[in-house]
Amino acid sequence: MDHEAAPSAVHHHSPPQGFIWKYIFSLDHKVIGKQYYFLSLLAVITGMVLSWLMRLHLAWGTAAIPLLDKLSPNGAPGGVMTPEYYLSLMTLHGTIMVFFVLTTAPQAGFGNYILPIQIGAEDMAFPRLNMLSFWVTFVSFVTLVSSLFVSDGPPISGWTAYAPLSALGSAGGPGLGRGQILWALAIATFCVGSLLGALNFIATTIDLRAKGMTLSRLPLTCWAWFITAILSLLAFAVLLPACVLLILDHIGGTSFFIPAGLVVSDALQPHAGGSPLLWQHLFWFFGHPEVYIAIVPGLGIVSNVLACTCRKPLLSYRVLVGCMIAIAFLSFTVWGHHMFLSGMSPYSGLTFSVPTLFITIPAAIVCLIWLGTVYGAKLRLNTFGLFAIGFISVFLTGGLSGFFLAQPSIDTYLHATYFVVGHFHFVMGVAAIFGMFTGTYFWFPKMFGRMMNETLGKIHFWLTFIGVYCIFMPMHYLGFAGNVRRYAAFTDDYMLPLIPVHKFITVAALTTGAVQLIFIFNLFWSMFRGKLASANPWEATELEWSTPSPPPFDNFGGQHPVVYRPPYEYNVEGATAEFIPQFTPDPVIKA
């Protein structure tokens, strides 16, 4: 029996030699974390370019976009995209952003790099599995993007792949044949990668904590990654069989999601007997927790960084952890609020509406704890602090519009309008992205051993902050005016007066996108030319700041760190130092 195996015995492997084992098939969680980070960076740039193409088409529907006809002669003859191609790009934009950016970077990227160091471990619990999860995710990304280059492009069924459209095969429209199969394969593969990753995160957090790292001393980031991993383990396990059934509908001739008697383009479909609603149930049982998989790491990162920015402990650590757990739990009870208009019984609508409104309680408490922490604090406003406060702003804005959508009676009008687009881009998209920016500016010195440029960082923050409000705030007005989403062109009488708003949004999106070049420049320039970073440049308290920047291969140079106190001891009464790191032994605190 090896029950006595010390947690530190996990790091069986020695430092690798040679480029391939060091940087490509590395088992080191730090390299894997960076691999995930750069994969997400590639994905977010791809997704953003797709959104520019869509925005250009929405505002100037007849303008030719250079090079687009080279990418897809059928989808964009002469550079003007067809309505179907618009939908293809929209599917790809949504899928890339949700899976390969929002799910990948905050959890698998930062989590992989920081979690083991923050709990005082030498690596993740299963280093080999960790490498496998990254490469599975990478293959999934390549599979998805390859759909751009098959016969008729990516599927037109959206990132939610609603059946029966997604299950019909090429009879249903462009991209629904091979493109849709590639989509389903990519997502099924992604599920496998995420499940392996989630398993690894949970086992690591439970088993590998250093001596003294009790659960109530875990930094809030670790709590967030732990909770997110549990969500992933339970949610992706449902999406996986759903994708397999979808693939069977395509290649096995089954009809799980295709009802009897369906006529498409005057042709009766050979499939019979299935239920399109079943896909929606399976998809949203995953899809709603997925929203929290994207945002909970952000909650953790922002809480962690806010304590450092405000130089005081968070208002209530325990309540904050409780709220994150409550949000995570409730997320499994509300998937039907995406389906109010799907033909589900109206009584079910009510059952899903009530827990949805309940989620606002823990979410509001989290925001109040943040605001209460900021209140009266002597802020040290670095770029990461600005992004953390920006996160609170966009999270609140997006959360407030959620009130409207959570009620079936109001949702009946607003569903499938730009109001929803504005809502989820704020609360899930921009908020999570702000969480990633916070994490990047905060941990960059640790990850790359150099400092980022603060001036460029602050310019980046203010322009981005104003930019995202210019893009997504007007969408709420568009929604109230009845502007439907997922349309490639707005030619109806009542929508024509809204075109100037769309033009404004497009200009704002292009500008805000261009602003990100400042970030990209700052990132890569600082990586090679930035000022060298000390071990603890932000005077923060968690374990990762006890080790050099960047940390050695085994994170702590052969030492086994011991934890003596809770994570956020800034300006503690009676203490001799302004901040007391977790690894500082007892006597220092009692003067």
Binding site: A125, L195, L199, R565
Partner: protein
């Protein structure tokens, strides 16, 4: 946090220990089982949903041969769980030969289960059941039957391979008794899943006349 928390307490969850007193590998297997049971759960829910929504769901299984065959399969699989328990016990007591023998018996049970199951499949295919049609009613019967039992059969087959790898490794002293126990967890899980599939797929689809 008060100062009392600052004092180091030697509790299970205070770090530097394995809180469940099991290796990370075993914890990993338990987490895999959690995820996998959710996957099976989703498949069973999908099956239930489609069954309830289809007015012409067929009830095709006759007592002889289908239910008899499925009962024998259940008996074989449950027996292989008993031999697995014996293998784990032998491994813990360090009786290598006995352990490998019991694991071989378990694998035999798994293979026999697969053979009986394939015979069952072939019988249904002979009667005209396909993924997309069957002679009796909703075409979804074949789709859900084959995908559910197929997923389970895949688990049994992979389990046999997994057990073989562990048995050989344990015989050569490359794997520990803990590894045998972990493979046992997987095997019992596969067995337990069958205990849901047997009544939900076979027994409620049986014609008892």
């Amino acid at each position: 946090m008060s100062e009392s928390d600052v004092a180091m307490t030697e509790s299970t969850w205070s770090g530097g220990a394995l809180p469940y007193a099991i290796s990370s590998k075993k914890l990993g297997m338990w987490l895999f089982i959690v995820a996998d049971s959710i996957t099976f759960g989703a498949m069973l829910v999908a099956y239930a949903y489609l069954r309830v929504a289809s007015p012409d769901w067929p009830i095709p299984f006759k007592f002889n041969p289908s239910i008899i065959n499925a009962t024998v399969m259940t008996f074989v699989l449950l027996s292989s769980s008993i031999t697995m328990v014996a293998a784990v016990q032998a491994a813990k007591e360090g009786r290598v030969r006995a352990c490998v023998g019991w694991m071989a018996a378990t694998m035999f049970g798994g293979v026999l289960f697969d053979i009986l199951h394939i015979r069952e499949w072939l019988g249904l295919i002979h009667e005209g059941v396909r993924l997309f049609q069957n002679p009796w009613g909703s075409p979804l019967f074949g789709a859900s039957f084959f995908s559910l039992t197929g997923l389970h059969m895949t688990h049994v087959t992979l389990g046999v391979i997994y057990l073989a790898v562990v048995a050989i490794g344990f015989g050569r002293k490359k794997f520990s008794a803990d590894d045998v126990e972990i493979s046992g967890l997987y095997w019992h899980f596969v067995d337990l899943v069958w205990m849901f599939i047997f009544p939900l797929v076979y027994l409620i689809s049986a014609r008892l006349r």
